[in-house]
């Protein structure tokens, strides 16, 4: 069996020092297979986002290793070239679609800028690729020519996905990428993501607190609490037959018929 696309080994992140030191991520290990999709669930503050930021290179791990195709990317990239290359390995879509786009930049220019970072393209070729990316995520010419403020939250998140895909990454991290959207828009974006996965073969690392979303998108799931992994396995197995009390609590916290928050608080 070949090396996994992404391997995270004993990843640890501590913030602060001395008495104020807190461990945000403790000894987390998991693997993401090529073409796979892995979900990370847990409540706020469980270390999901910090884990993502370390993989993407926005935080420096305090310990452990991150391997992409067996290649170590734990330490910050040394050269600008290496930094761009890492950009073509792993990309991310953030939670807030309102602040994740430059408010002065037209959507098409935003995509063209990223294409220009990674590929040497002629002006016409860039235009063609921008239009292609727009088509992929369902944005028309008029929307590509407008500023972010003219777009809705769902449309902006499509832009963020297109921007991430412009680098042609092998892994796309979605950090609560649908959490800020209405349920109907959420469904559209999730369908879009599953289409893109079929079309491009990109692997997903899907971070969410929403079990229903994880169930729809992810093959495998890990459950995090207080920075540590408490349970991991195939999504169906983890969510239908949880072994850890915390996973059961998460599952039972989803409102449904006859749901009683008081009994949950007692348990």
């Amino acid at each position: 069996m070949s090396a996994p696309l992404l391997a995270v080994e004993n990843l640890t992140k501590r913030f602060g020092s001395g008495r104020t030191e807190t461990t945000a991520v403790a000894d987390v290990s998991f693997e993401l297979a090529s073409g796979g999709s892995l979900g990370i669930v847990g409540e706020s503050g469980s270390g999901k986002t910090t884990t993502a930021r370390m993989i993407i290179g926005l935080e420096k791990p305090s310990g452990g290793r991150i391997l992409f195709r067996g290649e170590d990317r734990t330490q910050p990239a040394r050269t600008a070239k290496a930094l761009r290359e890492r950009g073509r390995n792993v990309q991310i879509v953030f939670q807030d679609p309102y602040t994740s786009l430059d408010r002065r930049q037209r959507i098409g220019d935003c995509l063209a800028e990223v294409l220009g970072v990674h590929f040497k393209l002629s002006r016409d070729e860039t235009k063609r690729r921008v239009r292609g990316l727009g088509e992929l995520v369902g944005l028309d010419e008029r929307q590509l020519n407008s500023l972010p403020k003219a777009l809705s939250g769902g449309q902006r998140q499509r832009v963020a996905i297109a921007r991430a895909l412009a680098a042609e990454p092998e892994i796309l991290i979605l950090d609560e990428a649908v959490s800020a959207l209405d349920v109907s828009i959420q469904a559209q974006i999730l369908n879009l993501l599953s289409d893109i996965r079929d079309e491009r073969g990109v692997s997903y690392l899907f971070i969410s607190h929403d079990l229903a979303v994880i169930r729809q998108v992810c093959d495998d799931t890990i459950v995090m609490r207080h920075g540590a992994v408490v349970e991991q396995g195939a999504t169906a197995a983890v969510l239908d037959d949880p072994h850890h009390a915390y996973t059961r609590l998460l599952r039972d916290s989803v409102p449904r018929d006859g749901w009683d928050p008081a009994s949950l608080a007692r348990s």
């Binding site: 950009g87 991310i92 939670q95 994740s100 430059d102 970072v117 990674h118 991430a164």
Partner: protein, 293 residues
């Protein structure tokens, strides 16, 4: 009946829309536009005036000292019999170019320093903040007096000293705005793409805070004009016989005591009008940039 009601409603909507558009177009506000007009007039006088006024501002004629308005001297003369109109018009150039250079230098240097500090963060940022605080502790005028003591009195030394004195003011404001901008996810997204830090700072962060920078540079212009006029007033800035508003208030002091206040009065009136206009414009621009952010 309903037709009338409809008409009234449509009219009300049109009025509301027109008012909204006017507010949008004139986002400087009435006072802002008046101030802009006053400032434009002053700049125009300084720019075009010397081309129209043919009298030599430095031509001394002691027999014509302290004359009232006449056909030859529309605003009268000063203690040395020099034409006041010519001196005011030529003095405007000195009075406006000085603060402009101060603001230009301090804004460019301060912005560059702040953007660099914000981008690299950590100990470098901390060091820049300490240095800025240290310079801030020196009053601008004191620094300028120190500079003239070292390099001799004159406009260049005063401009250089004030440029340094005004740098922390700009750098501080730019730093806090750039810091806010840098922590937005779109900057993180660009970093993850591997976009160069200098590119992100200049092409994304800077344009987004440019409104704020222009607003504060405008406010700084007013203060710099007053400081430079003050330095010239006490004789450390513009040197005689060069005409300058601040220097004219200084030399006009003697005239006031002898019952000829014209020189000091005209020069200080122009300083007050210019500074007041610039301050109002700066305030309006500041409000606008805050609304946008």
């Amino acid at each position: 009946m309903t037709a009338v009601a409809d008409n009234v409603e449509v009219e009300a909507r049109i009025i509301a829309r027109t008012a909204r558009r006017l507010r949008h177009a004139g986002s400087l506000g009435v006072s802002g536009w008046i101030a802009l007009g006053a400032f434009a007039a002053v700049v125009l006088i300084a720019a075009i005036g010397p081309l129209l006024v043919t009298t030599d501002p430095n031509a001394v004629s002691l027999s014509e000292a302290f004359q009232g308005p006449s056909a030859v001297h529309p605003l009268g003369t000063d203690a040395s019999g020099r034409d006041l109109l010519a001196r005011l018009v030529f003095g405007g150039r000195t009075a406006l170019i000085g603060p402009f250079l101060v603001v230009l230098c301090s804004t460019i240097l301060g912005t560059a320093l702040a953007l660099t500090a914000v981008w690299f963060g950590g100990w470098f940022d901390q060091m820049v903040v300490r240095v800025i605080d240290a310079i801030f502790a020196f009053p601008g005028l004191l620094l300028a007096i120190l500079a003239t003591a070292l390099f001799g009195a004159g406009l260049p030394a005063a401009i250089a000293a004030l440029s340094i004195a005004y740098l922390p003011y700009i750098a501080r404001i730019v730093r806090s705005a750039a810091l806010r901008e840098r922590n937005l996810p779109y900057v993180a997204a660009l970093r993850v793409q591997g976009v160069h830090g200098a590119w992100i700072s200049l092409r994304h962060i800077l344009p987004n805070i440019a409104g704020l920078i222009v607003a504060n540079a405008t406010l700084a212009f007013g203060f710099a004009l007053m400081d430079l006029a003050g330095l010239s007033f006490i004789g450390l800035g513009v040197q005689p016989p060069t005409a300058d508003w601040g220097a004219m208030v200084g030399t006009g002091m003697g005239g006031i005591l002898q019952g000829h206040p014209a020189e000091a009065l005209y020069a200080s009136a122009l300083i007050v009008i210019t500074v007041a206009a610039v301050n109002v414009i700066g305030d309006r621009l500041n409000e606008r940039s805050e609304v946008r952010a």
